[in-house]
Symmetry: C2
Subunit: 573 residues, 2 copies
């Protein structure tokens, strides 16, 4: 493991781990020199584009600090350490007054962020940070995001974006084409058609899922006769018109919690997001889905608004049998949404695209930009097979989004939006499809090698094998492994308790040590089962090699031996 500098050496002062600057509220500079005063001339200067060389040099110098000062921090820490407890940190962020005059100059703010705040952030860019779906970015992403910020276009309407609205429609069509592979003519017809919509940029996977299910709900409860549709008339009128008492959405037990949230927001009720059991690979059990649909049909008073398939479950990376679900939905005339927030970009790899076989059957697809497109926070997208279906969520106003305009805000959950499409489009040009494919392939290949390494080690066992680039495993010492295989029911329940305790402990101690970060979750396969605690690795950083992963496993082993020394430990039950 590479040597890491003790953070204290770098930033500690007088024995205190961090200067209490966040509470300082004075209008003097650090040197105690002339006070800062808000005045009109100073204000004008920050709005005027710097014309003279000195000014430009200063601004560039700041940017240099940002790019490389932060890089130096990022090279050192994973950062979820307990060096300084959260409570101690929190005490430094309790002042809630806003100073009358400026507290700091830009240079001081940047210095403080780099030297005193960021070291207590989380280094998601570290190859040792394999616990969540956030990782290192190609450095050019920061440049691209800066361009978007400097242009400050607002994609809600043409009048504040113009060419960037066209560019956004183009990149939406590019990704749509990757998913659906419709003929060239389809894309010629729709790419710049103001009347149709192939997809929408949103804040993230959550709002993408909400958007998809919003469209699904409105498509089901469409206008007819005197009924103006659920969007206009509301749920109660819709249920009355369609003669239903309840609406449901069916999704694998591994579905993201945003699907329940969508159910809550949309008036469907999060209890009506029905969890379908999964098979032993944690994929939606198609038989169980079929049975559930049949049971609901029999009741007669329940609307099935959508069925959701997962392409890369958050916890296990599992991919539901998309083709089978899609075919079932076609037979049953049900709206089929695929939550590919995580797994979506797998379609960029010719080698692994088959893992998402059937995704093209989906009526809608969620894909996150800030996950496997390696874009900075926050960018999500949602795509629709039918270019007219978003008409079900169209809104107009007198000053914007007028009928027939190119304004992208007409069919969109959000209003004002930054030009994330510019970042994605540029990244695709710089990386090429193959560049992204190399990253996807590295993640999947490395996850498989990691699974093999885990199985090779006596102390561990793989819980869910990687279907994509996520896997779960747990510490499982020989004695407990044997009980799990041969013990009585009662003994096995005891053993699960013990294993859960061990794994929670190992994960927490490793996190607090601050060198590596693996996350944990609790898996329940069937609704009647007790959960088992597992460790979870997400392999997306190309710098996360097997050497790094072996370091992480070694550390876990040594934590286990330190905290659970043999001979036979007593595990709390």
């Amino acid at each position: 493991m590479p040597r890491r500098t003790d953070r204290r050496d770098k930033i500690g002062r007088n024995g205190k781990p961090m200067r209490n600057t966040a509470n300082r509220n004075t209008a003097t500079t650090q040197a105690g020199s002339r006070p800062l005063i808000a005045d009109w001339n100073a204000l004008m200067r920050v709005f005027i584009r710097p014309e003279d060389e000195a000014c430009r040099t200063t601004l560039i110098k700041y940017m240099e600090q940002i790019l490389f000062g932060l890089h130096e921090f990022l090279a050192q820490h994973v950062g979820i350490t307990e060096d300084v407890s959260l409570k101690a940190l929190a005490r430094q962020f309790k002042s809630t007054a806003i100073a009358e005059n400026p507290e700091k100059r830009l240079a001081e703010v940047i210095q403080e962020l780099i030297r005193e705040i960021s070291p207590y952030g989380v280094n998601v860019a570290s190859p040792y940070f394999v616990g969540h779906m956030t990782s290192a970015l190609p450095f050019f992403m920061v440049h691209l995001k800066t361009i978007a910020a400097a242009l400050n276009q607002n994609l809600v309407k043409l009048e504040t974006s113009k060419i960037f609205s066209l560019l956004e429609k183009q990149v939406l069509a590019k990704i749509h084409r990757l998913i659906y592979r419709f003929p060239e003519q389809f894309y010629c017809d729709h790419v710049q058609n103001p009347e149709t919509t192939l997809g929408s940029f949103v804040e993230g996977g959550t709002t993408a899922n909400i958007t998809a299910l919003w469209v699904a709900r409105n498509t089901f409860f469409a206008p007819r006769n005197d009924f103006a549709g659920i969007e206009a008339d509301g749920s109660a009128a819709a249920f009355a018109e369609y003669g239903v008492k309840r609406a449901v959405i069916l999704v694998s037990r591994r579905g993201h919690y945003s699907l329940r949230k969508a159910g809550g927001i949309l008036g469907i009720g999060n209890k009506n997001i029905v969890a379908i059991d999964v098979d032993k690979e944690h994929r939606l059990d198609i038989g169980c889905l079929e049975q559930t649909i049949a049971d609901i049909r029999k009741q007669g008073d329940t609307a099935i608004v959508a069925v959701v398939g997962i392409a890369g479950a958050t916890e296990t990376g599992a991919v539901d049998p998309l083709r089978k679900i899609g075919e079932l939905c076609a037979r049953e005339k049900l709206f089929f949404h695929v939550d590919a927030a995580w797994g979506g970009p797998t379609i960029l790899s010719d080698t692994h695209r088959h893992l998402l076989d059937g995704i093209e059957l989906a009526d809608s697809v969620t894909i996150d930009g800030h996950k496997q497109f390696y874009m900075p926070m926050s960018c999500g997208m949602v795509y629709f097979k039918n270019p007219h279906i978003m008409d079900a969520v169209a809104y107009h106003a007198n000053y914007v989004n007028r009928h027939g305009s190119v304004d992208l805000g007409i069919r969109s959950l959000s209003g004002s939006r930054e030009a994330n499409s510019l970042v994605l489009d540029s990244a695709l040009k710089i990386m090429g499809k193959k560049g992204y494919a190399l990253l996807i392939e590295h993640g999947i290949d490395t996850a498989r090698k990691l699974a093999e390494e885990i199985e090779r080690r006596d102390l561990f066992e793989v819980v869910t094998w990687p279907q994509l680039n996520i896997l779960t495993y747990r510490v499982c010492p020989a004695g407990l492994k044997e009980i799990m295989q041969t013990g009585t029911d009662e003994e096995r329940i005891e053993a699960v308790h013990a294993l859960n305790h061990i794994n929670k402990t190992v994960q927490r101690i490793q996190r607090e040590a601050g060198k590596s970060f693996v996350s944990r979750t609790t898996l329940m396969r069937r609704h009647y089962e007790k959960g088992i605690v597992v460790l979870r690795c997400v392999i997306m950083n190309p710098l996360t090699t097997m050497a790094v992963l072996n370091d992480i496993l070694d550390e876990q082993e040594s934590i286990f031996r330190r905290y659970f020394p043999s001979p036979p430990p007593v595990y709390p039950s």
Copy 2:
């Protein structure tokens, strides 16, 4: 008016206005030199932090181009010109294939964005761009946004943000305190309390309004007896439990269209967002609101989920009588939401804060960061008086947002989110309350001066006087002005037609000329009235002086005289 360089001089080539680069899909560089190939080593380089001096210099050089290349563009154009028609532009964004190998290097992408794409974007930073709520940014905002991108923290959970979650809670408390002015002890108790929530960062005003009304809906249809609440059980069960047939939200006719959208999404139905008529200053008519509430109460089967007051209507900048609405809501025990997406930051000015008198009575308040906090796209916020009320929208999962954790994603419409709070907090330190106040005061003062200037000119009339820094007016030549005052009903209807046509034409021609941008909208005061077309100015750019505004009015006068020459023109009716 300052001389502007003809764009064609700058970027036109061989008579073609723009090189058709967007369609190029080859994997060779511009010089036709060695082809770009995606390979693992090249990929590694973009993920590794540059260690050597040459690399760092290159990265900084790119940033310099971004900061100043774009600045040069921004100094020249407003940009919604018809030099090149939208259709012609759209033809260049029709290719939908993604190249296998990289198409361009970062340097080429940046060059293309600066030289060939951005000139066809919209220069929202121009002092002559006064049509929308997007304006110049203080340059340091770009630096701050770059810091957020480089750190790439995800505020959904502590494990991907740590200190930045604490910082976010702090800045939320700072703004909450500006709005509600609770005693110091209240903020001590809540600023870092993981169990309570003073507000939430969202993508923009639309999602802020949706969040507020989501909370209002769930608060109204709260759990009781066997009913688990509307969020869990859905609208139908909620209506049954509470014995209502319909739920409504009451809002001024000037309310933002996102409120209708919120009604649609939440299952209330956008037809049930009841528009309350406005008084002659375009403020919600409090008598009309009272009457509407009384009428609804009489029916007995309709739930009033919330009343919305507007602080800075999008079209007119009008501020509803917040104190009166708040007092009425308190008497009637109704949830009171204030949409201060635009006007919110007025509370930073001691001089003008009184314009938002009563805002502290609101149960929830929407404020946009990317409007009068001068932050880059996109950042919205929503605040709640009661720090526990967001429990009504809490979600947990097994791997994140666990019960009792500090994870900010527990109570939030969105999931993964960038660290916009870092940008706002830093900006407050750099600007001070007074720095923002100076901007607010400039906007309001200048808008008032502009209204006086408009009234001074014979050709125009003010339609809505500025309550904040937005006003509407129209071209209204003497003859038509007289008819409007003394004509018969029939003559006045004719005159309105003519005026609408004139104003649409003047606005369009000015926009297409590309020197200035004033927007237009159609105002309807009462539901039975025909709309009148008005020109709309939003004064937020501190470089927008009266000299600039006089230029804009002069141009409108000259367009009018050119397109509608006297003697008596024939206006189409």
